[in-house]
Amino acid sequence: MADLSTEADEALAAAAARGDAAAFEILVRRNERVVRGFLARVAGSDRADDLAQETFLTAWTKAAAFAGEGRYRGWLLRIGWTTFLMDMRGRGRRIPAYSGTGEAPEQTDRSDAERDLIVEDALARLKEADRAAVVLCLVLGHSHREAAEILDMPLGTLKTRVARGSAQLLELLGDDDDSDA
């Protein structure tokens, strides 16, 4: 039996489309950190795992729909983004967008958990699409074009959202680099 763990995501996705559960499990193992991280940044850490589970479930049931164009991870993130939007609509809630009048959190010595909370709070003040655009481009390193495809929006709109979201985050979080603190 071939060692699936060395196969590329796209080959594993093709195997998953044929019903290979072992191949799909490797895809879950490889991509869960990124998918959960993306959803934690976009939806908040309290909803991230449920949404990620839903995302992988959809990816399994619709495995045949992955045409092999672009990266599998991008396809997963697109499902994750759609899952988040559907969840938000289903709950009838919308996290209030940042109005520009909120105070930037204090920049003092903090633990990792506190820093995470501050980052999450700052992200929550952005519009959902701005937040997702910033996370995809700045955090996950996707190109603007890839991010536009994942979020299903025009390239120009995506660039505007990244620029606006980044500026708002810098305003909220300050420009200190405390990642090594």
Binding site: E25, E32, F56, L138, V139, L169, L170
Partner: protein, 111 residues
């Protein structure tokens, strides 16, 4: 304000996802969810099949009832002219004779 590349790089470091090993707990959670989903789909498929069988059974019963009604109509069509020809009294006598013969048959069986 347009952020500079340096500012964006610093922001990216602050937002970065922590590096870690794959979370086997989450992998198992997805596996369980997948299994549960497969079971739910199987149950839904079985329900659909059962519904189809029931609908088929109902249809067959309706068809049988229709056929019986047709046979009844044919029998009635055969008997109606006979009844008209014989008259009420003769029909009564025929029914009475039928009852008597039936009762006699039952008596013989009991004996």
């Amino acid at each position: 304000m347009t952020p500079t590349p340096d500012q964006l790089a610093r922001l990216a470091r602050r937002l970065a996802l922590p590096e870690r090993e794959p979370d086997e707990g989450f992998v198992a959670r997805v596996r369980l969810a997948r299994d549960a989903d497969a079971l739910a789909r199987e149950a839904a498929r079985a329900r659909r099949e059962q519904l189809l069988v029931e609908i088929g059974g109902g249809g067959a019963l309706l068809f049988a009832a229709h056929q019986l009604a047709q046979v009844g109509e044919q029998a009635a069509a055969l008997l109606a002219p006979l009844a008209t020809g014989l008259g009420g009294l003769a029909l009564f006598g025929l029914a009475a004779a039928f009852m008597v013969s039936t009762l006699a048959g039952e008596r013989e069986e009991l004996a």
